[in-house]
Symmetry: C2
Subunit: 616 residues, 2 copies
């Protein structure tokens, strides 16, 4: 609200306001208003509906949220139970929560803030179920803020983090709304209760929006991980522990190999994620061009790409923050380090905007479909189907033209530091796992005497583990390619010095090679590398860690997180860790009095209960 006042006073733009919001970094009850309510209104409302609500929503006289998930249904949207039945007599919809599991659950700001919501309800016309549709529903009185008649609404209680946002629950007891409550840009219901379904292209464009949201999630994953990496690298570069000889200067902990192995690859991952966010925006830009000339053909690829990357990148960030936290010893457990709240506020990203496992399965479905098409063409002697760029390598499943046979080469360290070699290793791993996935699906189909259907059915459900793995492997390939691609475009742009490019290149090598080390099993199992080459991977990782050790502090400084936004006693730019810890601790509310808040009521009566006397 302060921001709104500031914007008005200083005459700032919408972008300025969003930047301020990001910097303040205190999500509250209005997140969903800006993030979902307004976009849905604008995207799905008719002109008249925008006239009715947009002005009030923009000036925040009404505050909205987006209520889709129910107690009983998150992933499976088609299972939503809230109903909106058209009453022809009064020209109204009756919104109802027929069961306990129909209770809306989770929407941000719904608990105590929102006055309105876009509510996903199953549309019923003359008893006919037409599936989920979006309705704008008023929830609270605008003067008293009390729930309107028939609405029960409240907060769902404390969460692991993100507690500034009042996620809420919502139940309807036959609440009547006008026909105009149905957002009708696409699907419509007329005065006589006749339904006009949405045009097919609509589904497509909503897929496209998803890609944008997910590109943002990937970029944000990189931002959050780079914050954690900045804090941990700075602390590890300042902290000294253990003297090599009695009385000697203690060693900087980042010079111990395990700290370096924990943190330097995490810096590399942060760069990879940030670059990937940019690459996704580039992909989306190209798609927009095609779309405007009516070409939606890139959508399935975009959808699969964004699905597997949303999942992979949020997992990488979650695990990476925790690695950073653990690398700071005890201080990583103190909120003053800033690391615990990065974690607890972040991990929800694994679940919303599609649960990660589900997204991997969706990406795998696309990959397996491409593979089936390739194999069918091959078996039938037909020309190969045209493949989208990110999956072109799948053609290697029937020919291995483009792949170097690394496993039979007598490679040394410097041979590994080549995009062609690394790309071949990474792509062949994907092909191997893809082959396993197909085999597994068929084996399960045989075992269960079921169809080897893609994306559903008993055989598919029994093959989830390898499908999730396939999607992740594909995602790692994309990260690896995007990292290299971004370095190449930076080189072309010519704005970054050669020295910096060389450092980035080493960082990219470490990114891919340390991933190969972490997942060595896949590469050996698939004969992409020979067991005897493992040692080369270990040595290359060690050598790159040593090479990058002198650069890593600059590499995190380059993320350009200022002290304010890091909010960490141990991660500030100046490295003055101990004084800051001490000052911040002294300021803790517990220290407002010397005796502490529990003295008068609890400790005093207990400790002094019978003329206690110390002998010391």
């Amino acid at each position: 609200m302060g921001i709104r006042d500031l914007v008005r006073k200083e005459n700032l733009t919408y972008e300025d306001a969003m930047t301020i919001r990001k910097l303040v970094d205190l999500p509250g009850g209005f997140e969903l208003h800006y993030g979902m309510f307004l976009p849905t209104l604008i995207g799905q409302g008719t002109e008249e509906q925008l006239d009715a609500w947009l002005g009030q929503a923009l000036s925040m006289r009404i505050v909205g949220t987006y209520a889709q998930t129910e107690l009983g249904h998150g992933t499976f949207l088609r299972g939503l139970e809230t109903t909106a039945s058209f009453d022809k007599l009064t020209d109204e919809f009756v919104i109802d929560s027929p069961t306990p599991t129909a209770t809306k659950w989770w929407p941000g700001g719904l608990g105590k803030t929102a006055t309105h919501a876009v509510v996903m309800c199953r549309l019923f016309l003359d008893g006919k179920d037409l599936g989920p549709h979006p309705f704008v529903v008023q929830l609270r009185d605008l003067e008293t803020h009390l729930p309107v008649q028939g609405v029960e609404v409240g907060d769902i209680g404390p969460k692991m983090g993100y507690n500034g946002v009042d996620n809420g629950f919502l139940r309807f007891d036959r609440v009547r709304v006008p026909r105009a409550a149905l957002l009708s840009r696409y699907a419509k219901v007329d005065r006589d209760g006749r339904y006009a379904p949405p045009p097919k292209a609509n589904a497509k464009s909503s897929y496209a929006t998803m890609v944008v949201v997910r590109a943002d999630i990937v970029k944000y994953a990189g931002e959050v991980l780079s914050k954690a990496a900045t804090i941990a690298v700075r602390y590890n570069a300042v902290r000294r522990q253990t003297a090599p000889e009695p009385g000697g200067l203690e060693e900087i902990i980042l010079n111990y190999q395990q700290s370096a192995r924990n943190l330097i690859p995490t810096v590399a991952k942060s760069y990879a994620l940030i670059f990937m966010g940019q690459t996704m925006w580039d992909m989306y830009g190209r798609f927009e061009g095609q779309r405007d000339s009516g070409d939606f053909s890139a959508l399935p690829e975009l959808h699969a790409t964004s699905s597997c990357l949303k999942a992979l990148c949020t997992w990488v960030t979650t695990a990476g923050i925790e690695v950073c936290r653990q690398s700071c010893g005890g201080q990583g457990y103190s909120l003053l380090s800033g690391l615990p709240s990065l974690y607890t506020n972040y991990v929800q990203n694994l679940t919303w905007e599609g649960d990660n496992t589900i997204l991997c399965l969706q990406a795998a479905r696309y990959l397996v479909k491409q593979l089936h098409a390739i194999l069918a063409a091959h078996r039938g002697g037909r020309p190969q189907p045209e493949l989208a760029q990110t999956v072109a390598y799948l053609a290697g499943t029937v020919s291995d033209d483009p792949f170097l046979d690394v496993s039979r080469q007598d490679y040394e360290f410097h041979d590994l530091l080549s995009f062609e070699v690394l790309d071949s290793i990474m792509a062949q791993r994907c092909l191997f796992v893809a082959g396993q996935a197909l085999d597994n699906l068929e084996a399960n189909a045989r075992r269960l005497d079921a169809e080897p259907k893609i994306g559903e059915g008993a055989a598919w459900n029994a093959s989830h583990v390898i499908m999730v793995k396939l999607a992740k492997c594909h995602g790692w390939l994309l990260l690896h390619r995007s990292f290299h691609g971004k370095i190449e475009s930076l080189r072309k742009e010519g704005k970054v010095s050669d020295a910096s490019l060389r450092v980035l290149e080493s960082l990219y090598h470490l990114f891919t090679i340390s991933h190969i080390e972490d997942s060595l099993g896949d590469f050996l199992e698939g004969n992409v590398l020979a067991p005897s080459q493992s040692q080369l991977i270990h040595e290359a990782t060690q050598a790159l860690l040593l090479k990058l050790r002198p650069e890593v502090v600059c590499l995190v400084d380059a993320f350009a997180h200022d002290d304010y936004s890091l909010n960490s006693a141990i991660g500030a730019y100046d490295g003055d860790v101990y004084n800051r810890l001490y000052e911040m601790a002294k300021g803790s509310p517990f220290n407002d009095t010397q005796e502490g808040p529990a003295w008068d009521d609890l400790l005093k009566p207990f400790l002094t209960r019978r003329g206690r006397k110390a002998k010391l």
Copy 2:
């Protein structure tokens, strides 16, 4: 304090009181009093010192804590900076914090609760530094609870979890304490300032105490993980999501393969950890017998074993809780599920009682020493050194008598389900990693032109990654053996039905085989398994998941966590998830009023600022 009253009223024993405390499970400012202050007093105090303090401490007229860690030093104890200098004139010690980094930091209960502390100070006699020694120091006035003259004490601020405990900081400005403040059962200072060092056996017996503490940590790791597993398995067994065909009954999510892969091995790990805690107690029991006849020879092994297991088991539990949390979708993010606070309260265990990385390095040092002894004997043609039981397999580094050559066998699923086969696989992996560790140490020594010293020095510091890995692999071998060993003793005891033993055996198979799948790279790299055998491991894992699926709910019920101690809306015994979520959410303090706590002060002035009017 309530417990104390209850104990007095009901005339309960110390064990009863401890059980109640565990059930209440609300750690507070007294944790360190019972956990460290009293044991240190009893272990290190003389008769006179016990006379002076024990009575008051037991009746809680004074409350103590244990203050060792300083801002500047956690792992490196020898670096502690707080000083205690003997003043011969007054027969007192002067306790001082000479630098900011000398500030004591972290002790539990120190912030606002403790009146006394055992403070580790560097003992100075006539300017001579005799290293860290324990002193009992009064910190607060017993009537006013204000810090005594020269003491600055306070809370270190909020933490990721465990916030019921007031971890604190502490500084001394030349505080004088009587000579009797030095706990003098072992090291003593006489009236003339002459020092009598502790007998050697003392260090040994304090090592032994460490083993007991760590056995408890391992057991506790199993308890915490089994709580998370209970919650997640029960929810996943009740939650349905996604209908196979329109209108059909939705599938139980535990029937999806990825859920099963996440959760059933986590149940297996919980059992493994609980059994390991028992095995460690057994080991300790045997040691006590030997110790009483003056034989301390088992100590190094015990110390190494307890170090690597403390580290490995706390890591397994940390990662396992998070897997459980993620497997519950959105509900895993709600505190009402009980999962987030299991995590945030638990992860400190990775750091205290020895940072995990450091403990792994200590265990590795022991293992590498044994290997050197074996190799030296072998090279010199001498008979093999006697090896402790847990490391006897290391002799295989110079002979492979006891090992099956699994990689050349044409094994099928049922062949794998044998302790001999699995044990051979697990032990050979350790031997392979041990060999890598030795090679790495020597290579680094050559590269750095340094000594390949064990446990310290530049070459050792540059080999930390493989040393940590060696310790972990050794730990997995111990877990695998202990799991199997416990099943064998249960069988011998004859109290568990054959059917239950068969289920436990499958669980043990899954434990080891899913670990092999997770770490396949090691086994392939070491030629313990051939790449072509990987598929067998995958298939065995899948088959065991299916076999155990019908048992897994009973397996978590058998942990016997009651609903009260799980405190989870989604993990209760009756499976009534949705009503419980709804009721618990409604009871959240945010819902005390319909408008919510922010309405009057914030939202109302903002939203109703200018005769806001809705058009809907």
